[in-house]
């Protein structure tokens, strides 16, 4: 870590994602087929998702949240496993609400 990082420590990821507003819908707009993910060793979604929605579990699976999603589409784009991630937009009016970007 550089001096600068020490002087201005980065906020926690929870605080970071908490800066955006989310009106979470009841329907999960992304679904993950964990049987397919169990065989995946590359796990592109884990590093690439800017909202950090994909978390590897100890038993080799993927834990997934849809709630604080930017709806960007990175996960299904980088995933190289056919059918692992089913991605739609959230129901109308729900999901992320940006204000200063």
């Amino acid at each position: 870590m550089t001096q600068d990082n020490l002087r201005w420590p980065e906020i926690s990821f929870e605080d970071r994602i908490g800066t955006a507003r989310f009106d979470v819908g009841e329907r999960a707009h992304i679904t993950v087929d964990s049987r397919i993910c169990a065989d995946c060793s590359t796990r592109e979604c884990v590093v690439a998702c800017p909202a950090k929605l994909f978390v590897p579990t100890a038993d080799g699976g993927i834990l997934f949240n849809y709630e604080q999603c930017f709806e960007c589409g990175t996960c299904y784009m980088v995933c190289n496993r056919e059918g692992a991630i089913a991605w739609t937009y959230p129901d109308g009016g729900h999901g992320v609400v940006f204000s200063q970007t």
Partner: protein
Amino acid sequence: MPDSPMPDNPMPDNPMPETPFFEVVVVGAGPAGSCAATVLARRGVSVLLIERGPFPGSKNMYGGVVYPRILDSLHPEWWEEMPIQRWVTRRSTMVLTENQAVTIDFRSQNWGVPPYNGATAYRPDMDHWLASKAEAAGARLLTSTTVTGLITDARGQVCGVRTDRPDGDVACRMVIACDGVNSFVAKEAGLYPDLNPANFTLGVKETLGLSRSVIEERFAVRDREGVDIEILGGTQGVNGGGFIYTNLDTLAVGVVLKLPALAAQKTRPEEIIAHLKSHPGIAPLVEGGEILEYSAHLIPEAGRSMMPQLTGEGLLVAGDAAAMCLAAGIWLEGVNFAMASGMAAAETAAEAITAGDVSKRGLAGYEKRLNSSFVLADHDKLSRIPGLVLSDRVQHQYPQMIANVVERVFRVDNPQPKPGLRKIFAEERKRAGVRLRDLARDGWTGMRGFG
């Protein structure tokens, strides 16, 4: 059911009498969709503008600079009304290595007076304003409504959309898809032959709160003047780039990351921003800034080569949905292409409806319009540049080479005499592992591409 004007033209009546009908449905109230709806409404075409967010702009994020001159015709003196943050009067291009920075800085006060050049603006503000102009022109805006599919008639021509509202179908003569980089409408219509992740970058950004006076002091601007800094390097080896833009009392600081390169390594996007912010050339500009909003969005980065078919049966595609985003190093534009393509789509649609032919053939004027305007002209001219800018040599070798050359030029090595520029360059090129042949080829691509 609201009253929907039924035009007297030779086309069949609403094919689905029970459903609401509009002549044109525009999917997505971003810059492309709102400009399309404005043009259509002004031409007396009944138009429904459907937005999935609670208000136009709520789903939209970009780097931070818009070039609105295309609005001169649509909204004369737009600068009086448009909710902008600052007028860009200073543009810098930075090349970063771990501990060096080479900056080319340009300033023009001409860009601080009407009709201006570029402006920083928040998309939730700007898109909201553009949509309000469409509504004022007579377009119907329907928010909080996600389009879930197209309705086609027996001939395979688009004649409506399905939405996620109860009884959510809408009938229409044709659809203009302005539904953004993930365009499910264009994909459903089969206009995207393949989806290559290498054509996309992820834009990740922090909006940092700082006082106006601190921003103006650090960036040497006054009043509503603003700065646009594009950065090559500084993305921890992930092909892409960085940016810093000044808003009124915030900074937009972020990175653009090529998807396969991002996925192939282990550093997360927010860590790459943190690293950029800690660079000795960047840290003094951003220090003390509180993160007010963290956001991300995909960018269709590959330009002309990734564009889908722009025209279908009863369907036109505009804006990011058609990959009309120009990421050509020194030019980073998208909103202007979206607005222009939306307007061109609307003009074509209005003519086609009058002529009674919204088939693919009847809509052929769209591509002609785009070809004769900057939308496709710029993309055609610069078609090789996005690939060049994101190439491994430009990303990983040239920044170090350039910075080392400049460092040696300015380093006073007394008692050694000053070496000749040619010698420095040859040595640094070798040290960076750049083959002369590759350099010449990239130089040629750049000269031809930018020329």
